[in-house]
């Protein structure tokens, strides 16, 4: 396994000095995200997020299993993140790096533990059958901001996903295929999104959405997960240089504003996609009538 190429001292100094002069290398404002793009696949529940040069694909799939004995009324929801050498040759399959563990823990805390998805709605027959939902996160291109991008991808994919309807008669449950019954969206309680703040110059300067070079130079990071209702779902600052607590509280205000913008963006893309699909649906209906 080759090592991750380290950023050279000259580049390091250049980035630091530029930041002291209030300039980022890509000429963004300190609190600006890179250009965010979101596309949905042909199938339900596939979201392709591009955040600058970072690209993440999240894919939701569903299966039926037996619920856990201690959680009879809940469905199963799991998020899988595995880095592949596609994003960076330093990622080795089957040997998770610290970054990978942190990514999966943050997503777990941000989305699963904050109850973004109502797992009770995935239950079919209590104690016997439930839906098992899984989200696979594929990192396609890595230029920093993986946590933010992955969180957007998973949340967008969850909102885009439609699960098959199910018919319960006593102890018998029938899963109705897409052709029989229009599939139904998941019940999502709130939409957590992550914003990563990177601290430079011993905690004096903070940036939103650092790219890979800035990530390698930074002194500390704070990952804040919020929803647009102003609830903080998760905060993680694992060491690094110390920051002023008031600056951290200010981060949550910035994060709230960013999260609101991103939620709006995701909703807009979802609406566009729904419109596109609906047009097709209408056309299909018309053609079916003509055939009859």
């Amino acid at each position: 396994m080759p090592r991750e190429a380290e950023i050279s001292l000259n580049e390091r100094e250049f980035i630091k000095q530029a930041l002291q002069e209030q300039i980022r290398l890509d000429n963004r404002a300190f609190d600006a995200f890179r250009k965010l793009e979101l596309t949905f696949g042909e199938e339900y529940g596939v979201a392709d997020v591009q955040l600058g040069k970072t690209r993440v694909i999240a894919r939701i799939s569903i299966d039926v299993t037996t619920p856990l004995p201690e959680r009879k009324f809940d469905g199963v929801f799991q998020i899988f993140t595995e880095f592949s050498p596609m994003a960076s040759p330093a990622f080795e399959v089957g040997r998770p790096t610290d970054a990978e563990v942190i990514l999966s823990r943050i997503l777990e805390k941000a989305i699963r533990r904050s109850n973004a998805l109502d797992t009770e709605s995935l239950c079919i027959i209590a104690g016997l059958k439930c839906f098992a939902l899984r989200a696979d996160v594929h990192i396609i291109d890595h230029d920093g901001g993986l946590i933010d991008a992955s969180c957007i991808a998973v949340m967008a994919a969850l909102q885009h996903f439609r699960r098959p309807d199910v018919l319960v008669e006593g102890e018998r449950a029938t899963i109705l295929s897409v052709r029989e019954r229009e599939p139904i969206p998941l019940s999502i309680l709130h939409q957590p999104l992550c914003v990563t703040f990177s601290y430079f110059a011993e905690g004096e300067i903070f940036l939103v959405d650092a790219n890979l070079a800035e990530e390698q130079v930074r002194n500390a990071e704070v990952i804040v997960t919020m929803n647009r209702h102003g609830e903080v779902c998760q905060i993680a600052k694992y060491g690094g240089v110390t920051v002023n607590p008031l600056a951290m509280l200010q981060c949550t205000n910035v994060a709230l504003q960013k999260v609101k913008e991103m939620s709006k963006f995701i909703q807009q893309k979802l609406d566009e996609d729904a419109k596109r699909r609906d047009a097709g649906g209408l056309m299909a209906e018309l053609s079916a009538e003509n055939a009859r």
Binding site: E6, P96, D98, V101, I102, S104, R105, E108, K109, R113, S114, N115, G203, N219, A220, V222, M226, G230, E231, V232, C233, Q234, I235, A236, K237, Y238, G239, G240, V241, T242, V243, N244, P245, M248, L249, T252, N253, L256
Partner: protein, 251 residues
Amino acid sequence: MPLDTSTYSLALLRLDGRRWNELRRIHAQISTQAAADGSSYLEMGNTKILVSVTGPAEGRQSGQRGGSGGQAKVEVEINFAGFSGMERRRRGGGDKRSKEMEHCVKSAFEGVLLLHLFPHSTITLNIHIISQDGSLLAACINASTLALIDAGIPMTDYLVACTAASSASSTAADNASADDPLLDLNTLEEQELPFLTVGTLGDSDQVAVCVMETRVRMERLEGMLAVGIEGCKRMRGILDGVVKGYGKRFG
């Protein structure tokens, strides 16, 4: 419902009889194991932790001796004793939660230790959790600080951590000003309330570590953080007393 919030709002006493801003009983020792370069034993209420430090020494793998960039590398290993929790279940080492804690302790101390004094060497922290009853991460950080001081590894100041929660009075859940912060939680309180672990550097207000895993209104964050930082200051005083008390024995 483990924490009966109704009685709390009446008597303002917690389940274990503490007031909102009281720490649990803290008992700490250093130099507990002669074989290690530095070691400590810390009890915060019923959370009991044993830490041993090895190093600065040559790294285990011959290929990559110590850290890169002219400074020492910090390695952290956390072991959960099989009998430490409520369930008698052995936890595998590759658990993501303990990996996360290891990463947190590692990067927290990387910012505090003067690593550039020991290029090409490794400092290994072995943390054994003997009994867990809340504030686990905070206890790990405090115990590690003591062990590193015992090992004589230079650091800028004590890294101390503490947990703080916010218990919304059930009557005024949406009134941000009416929430009561709590300090130093045990397991039952952790399960019930939104809480955060905050670690500060010495007497300053500067936050080195801040981990929160539960959903909470952003307005309540400020109170929790303030109480947590206050708790850290008291914690520093206690740890300082332990270290100085140990030093007197040589005096």
